[in-house]
């Protein structure tokens, strides 16, 4: 029998587990402490649980922490970890990005991705599977640098809001008192705009939202991001515009700059028009070409001009520093290299 992970279970789920095992209800809180607050890696080390309780838990569960099987270190300090997943020959990528006082972990929410964006390396793998909440939490729990971590971004492999149940569970564990007690203001979930998932995330979490925009023009965005056919950016923006983010919660827009495609004066003008009334910031991102792509990145001066113009028009805009280029830190680069891809027989 395959045993289930304890890691990744919410307090409510742990309560169901202990009650099913005829253990006292408070055992759930004790297990949560061991899973999310203390530095142990096995059920045997849960020393405030009786021997009998530990044995009965071990009959059905394993702790669930998994060490990385590979790590690559960039000259700039970025590290990319590869964790085995529950799917054979499929890997989970996690990038640790230290930067002065801010140390960010970029976590994955799926193996591969279904969204098929033209510029994305992860999409080349196709979709391999959903990550469980445990596999998401493990990327943080098993990180050697976890003590120095300040921020978490769901911007690794996969579309987080195409895996809403597991992503929401992982956010609960990260931000709850019983869990890792992180401030939700230190966590950002990035989406290409899956509307039902976005509504659930906005209503049931306090974490920041980042939306991958990449073009303000429908026809152009459609060619870059097939999701535009289903969830047009105007509908995504309407939800963002009408949602009360309060004083602390933030929405930002990710904008990869492609030479001669989305980096013109018309794009600046249209971005200002469609983002009117939304308190937000734009992160401009350099495009680092992936194999066989028809796209090129905008040059440095164009990006600077684009940034300055948007700032002048009142939209706070920054250019994100590229990190870990020497270790293929862009999502999907490492795991796609490791993936043993079989030919799909369905077509």
């Amino acid at each position: 029998m395959n045993k289930d992970f304890l890691l990744g279970k919410t307090l409510e789920e742990l309560t169901h587990i202990v009650l099913d095992l005829k253990l006292p209800k408070f055992t759930a809180k004790q297990i949560a402490d061991w899973l999310y607050k203390k530095d142990i890696t096995s059920i045997d080390e849960m020393s405030n649980l009786s021997q009998k309780a530990r044995e009965s838990i071990k009959e059905k569960f394993i702790f669930g922490n998994i060490s990385s099987t590979k790590v690559q270190c960039s000259v700039d300090g970025t590290k990319k970890y590869l964790y085995p997943s529950n799917l054979p020959h499929k890997f989970i990528e996690t990038a640790y990005i230290p930067d002065r006082e801010r140390n960010t972990l970029c976590v994955s929410s799926q193996v591969g991705c279904k969204m098929g964006c033209l510029f994305c390396m992860t999409g080349k793998q196709g979709f391999q599977g959903q990550l469980s909440s445990g596999e998401i939490i493990n990327q943080i729990r098993s990180l050697p640098e976890r003590e120095s971590l300040t921020n978490i971004v769901y911007m690794g492999m996969g579309e987080p809001l195409d895996n809403v149940p597991e992503v929401m569970k992982s956010l609960e564990i990260l931000t709850s008192e019983y869990g890792m007690a992180m401030s939700p203001r230190r966590i950002t979930v990035s989406t290409i705009g899956i509307i039902p998932g976005m509504i659930e995330f906005l209503n049931n979490s306090e974490c920041h939202l980042a939306v991958s925009l990449h073009s303000p023009f429908d026809e152009e965005r459609k060619k870059l991001m097939p999701v535009q056919n289903v969830y047009p950016i105007k509908d995504v923006l309407e939800i963002v515009r009408n949602f009360d983010f309060g004083r602390q919660r933030r929405v930002s827009f990710e904008y990869i700059m492609f030479k001669g495609i989305n980096d013109t004066a018309n794009h600046i003008k249209e971005l200002c028009r469609i983002l009117d009334g939304i308190k937000c910031r734009i992160n401009l991102i350099r495009f680092h070409p992936i194999p066989n792509t028809p796209l090129d990145g905008s040059d440095e001066s164009t990006m600077e001009y684009f940034k300055d113009q948007l700032n002048k028009k009142g939209i706070t805009t920054t250019i994100r520093r590229s990190r870990g280029l020497d270790i293929f830190a862009a999502c999907g680069m490492l795991s796609t290299k490791e993936l043993v891809k079989r030919q799909n027989e369905d077509y």
Binding site: M115, G116, E345, Y347
Partner: protein
């Protein structure tokens, strides 16, 4: 307490037919109450607590019924339940939406599995002139609506069967078929619909063969 679908506009309707057309593949019909364009999708659920899944409509814009082509996903929530539902049962659907729309200009339609649905909708809506349809499937029974396509499109309808051989079928994956074509047209658009793996692989193949990326329109099932 708020239902998960409170913020989604759902219309109650009644299933008129839910018919198995191939192993694990069904066609479900309900009465049309909202106009749609060929290529658009609807959201569908049997339970107001469950967020609707999206399905492209497989009916012509003038048809009286909305037809949905679906296959059973063994690990899914909806489709195993949906396949058990009989005519007369309730269903909740969203209004049609989406922008995977073709016109009268030349185009190649490339589909895998149930990704044939939008192209059947376009075909039923009268778009067949200047079109080439390439459908990839695993088995000989994977080519849904093939009789109608064959009759109307003749040699412009190509079925690529990856796991079985039969007369009239190209034996092999559709990507291999595309590689055998000496010259791809440079005056048309390419519409792709199916699994993410197929869409990404075919898009890369077309781009490598000189097709400009902005002539490729993709719809991915997720």
């Amino acid at each position: 307490m708020e239902s998960k679908t409170d913020q989604i506009k759902l219309n109650a309707t009644t299933i008129l037919e839910n018919r198995k057309i191939a192993p694990g593949v069904y066609v479900l019909k309900y009465k049309k109450t909202k106009a749609f364009k060929a290529g658009q999708y609807i959201g569908l659920t049997t339970d107001l607590e469950v967020i609707p899944r999206l399905y492209t409509i497989a009916s012509g814009a003038s048809d009286e019924e909305v037809q949905i082509l679906y296959n059973i996903k063994d690990d899914g929530w909806l489709t195993p339940r949906l396949s058990e539902i009989k005519a007369g049962s309730n269903l909740y659907v969203t209004d049609p939406d989406g922008d995977f729309i073709d016109d009268n200009t030349p185009a190649w339609w490339i589909a895998s599995g149930t990704g044939i649905a939008p192209f059947y909708a376009m075909f039923r809506s009268g778009l067949t002139e200047n079109k080439t349809l390439i459908h990839g499937g695993r088995f000989t029974h994977s080519f849904y609506f093939e009789k109608e396509f064959m009759k109307a499109m003749g040699s412009n309808y190509i079925r690529c069967c990856s796991q079985e051989k039969a007369n009239g079928l190209y034996s092999g994956r559709l990507t291999r078929y595309l590689q055998t074509i000496k010259e791809l047209p440079n005056d048309c658009r390419f519409f792709l619909c199916g699994s993410p793996e197929m869409v990404v692989e075919v898009r890369d193949l077309l781009i490598n063969r000189g097709v400009k990326y902005n002539r490729i329109v993709a719809e991915i099932y997720f």
